[in-house]
Symmetry: C2
Subunit: 307 residues, 2 copies
């Protein structure tokens, strides 16, 4: 089945202990779309500027991604610059130039109306809500957010949380939303705000999915997927969006939503995130194969599997 992602396409300047790159293709929608494209048909709604060339678009097209929803506005594409020092879990932002992204009003092409799965990447929660209302026929909606919206637009975020089936955030964001430092308690508080399932990403430690009682008819026992310890993390940028792409993409590929599918989706999310960090930006995702993905899925499975 098909999945639509709505979010940012960007050009990034990134410095990590492994090196520096400038003006490389990035953005949440880009990473999500590339990761999800290994599992299912992907459509993108985003905005780019004049500096987004056919070559950039081909990165997506080569993976079979439907780019008809990428709007071209006059001006420059969203640009972000950041650096990671020893703590690769946290970026220090050098600059943010919203450019054409500042006026982004997602426009869903008519051809996308039949999309079954929706992912609302990290944009203003009111835009996320508007897209969700427009796509009211979807089977399942996933969403992301960040500390900025949690602090600045709590009411709009609360509205958005009522509209997503699965929220994917990290430990810090979950604790911020819930005003609660204990993770499982924070998870239950977030679930009480709307989502049926909550995926909390723990960076190098993997991720946990928590369920609202009775959600998807599968009870509330959480499930964890470990992450592979990676010896060289070149660039963590986009790992979370790649995780979301693997997670949602796998679910969309299965159609049926049950506990086993969600468990495997959590593993595939971790797998996709682990590939992304091996190279800068989207480099690793661009050259990846489904065979490599499934081989690493087995490695992840073995990592915690008891006979």
């Amino acid at each position: 089945m098909s999945i639509l992602v709505v979010g940012s396409v960007a050009f990034d300047n990134i410095t990590t202990p492994s090196g520096s790159v400038e003006n490389i293709l990035g953005g949440a929608a880009t990473h999500f779309a590339l990761a999800a494209s290994f599992f299912t048909e992907v459509r993108v709604v985003a905005v780019v500027g004049d500096d987004f060339t056919a070559e950039h678009e081909n990165v997506l097209k080569k993976r079979g991604i439907d780019t008809r929803g990428i709007e071209r506005a006059s001006g420059k594409t969203f640009r972000w610059g950041g650096r990671y020092t020893d703590n690769l879990n946290e970026a220090k932002t050098d600059f943010t130039e919203l450019n054409v992204f500042e006026q982004f009003q997602p426009k869903i092409p008519k051809e996308y109306a039949d999309t079954q799965f929706l992912f609302l990447a990290n944009i203003h929660p009111s835009l996320q809500a508007a897209v969700r209302h427009e796509m009211d026929g979807v089977l399942l909606t996933g969403g992301d957010t960040m500390n900025f919206w949690i602090n600045k637009t709590p009411r709009e975020l609360a509205e958005m949380l009522k509209l997503v089936n699965v929220l994917l955030i990290n430990d810090t964001e979950a604790k911020m939303i819930a005003h609660e430092t204990n993770l499982p308690r924070a998870a239950q508080k977030v679930l009480a705000l709307g989502p049926q399932a909550l995926v909390i990403k723990h960076g190098e430690y993997g991720a946990t999915i928590f369920f609202r009682e009775g959600a998807f008819g599968i009870g509330r026992h959480p499930f964890r997927a470990p992450s592979l310890p990676i010896e060289e993390v070149k660039d963590p940028t986009g790992a979370g969006d790649s995780f979301a792409g693997g997670f949602m993409g796998y679910i969309a590929s299965q159609g049926d939503i049950n506990r086993e599918v969600l468990k495997r989706a959590l593993f595939y999310g971790g797998v996709m995130g682990s590939f992304t960090v091996e190279r800068f930006g989207t480099e690793r995702l661009q050259e990846l194969t489904r065979e490599e993905i499934d081989a690493r899925f087995q490695v992840f499975r073995e990592l915690t599997h008891l006979e």
Copy 2:
């Protein structure tokens, strides 16, 4: 088979968001011994003062622990006071009174000479080394250390690391010893210093065991055990020592050391740590049953198990 733990017995004052307790029985050897006692025969070498009563000793004896190695010195038992605020992973020390522990010279009773497994809890690395030399017939030695020894006695620690088969430490300690921020690389550097296996405890995220190439004839692929997300962590004190007790105790109960045993041991370590944090001090371990332990082992297994 039997296991000997050498380490501290203490009285603790502990404050956490869940409450405060004073003068409760604690210490690394105590937590380790109680946790290991659910799996195998346990012996303890430690020192206590006049304030250590028959009632305290009975906490250990009731679990069948051999306390003949607990030396009674004149003076007060080691006392520690600490508090945890929102970050339950890190204690702030209020006071440390070494008391009789300051002059601790481990004396191994003759009756302990046939012990097959040894655990060197967190004491001065030179004392750990001396015990290991004295117990040179053991099949497997585990050890712990902490930031204080890593900083203050690096040479003595380096000697100790050559004498342990399995080192059990946390993320921060591993990175400190290795002068390396990437966890798998830090692990390989620590393994190059001596241990055949390294267990890195990640607190609420579980633990990973890394192997030196060819160690125990089982190759170097790491293995991870998740931890159960606990809704109420009352008191994290002793969780790491309980982890070690479950891990080493299970190995000692199996006799044979192979990959599957070490994997299960890692799960049992997490299980024991997760029980300890549910109540203050050793309260939970004192009333625990093997049936509860095995039930939680299954829950942990299910937590990451794919069909």
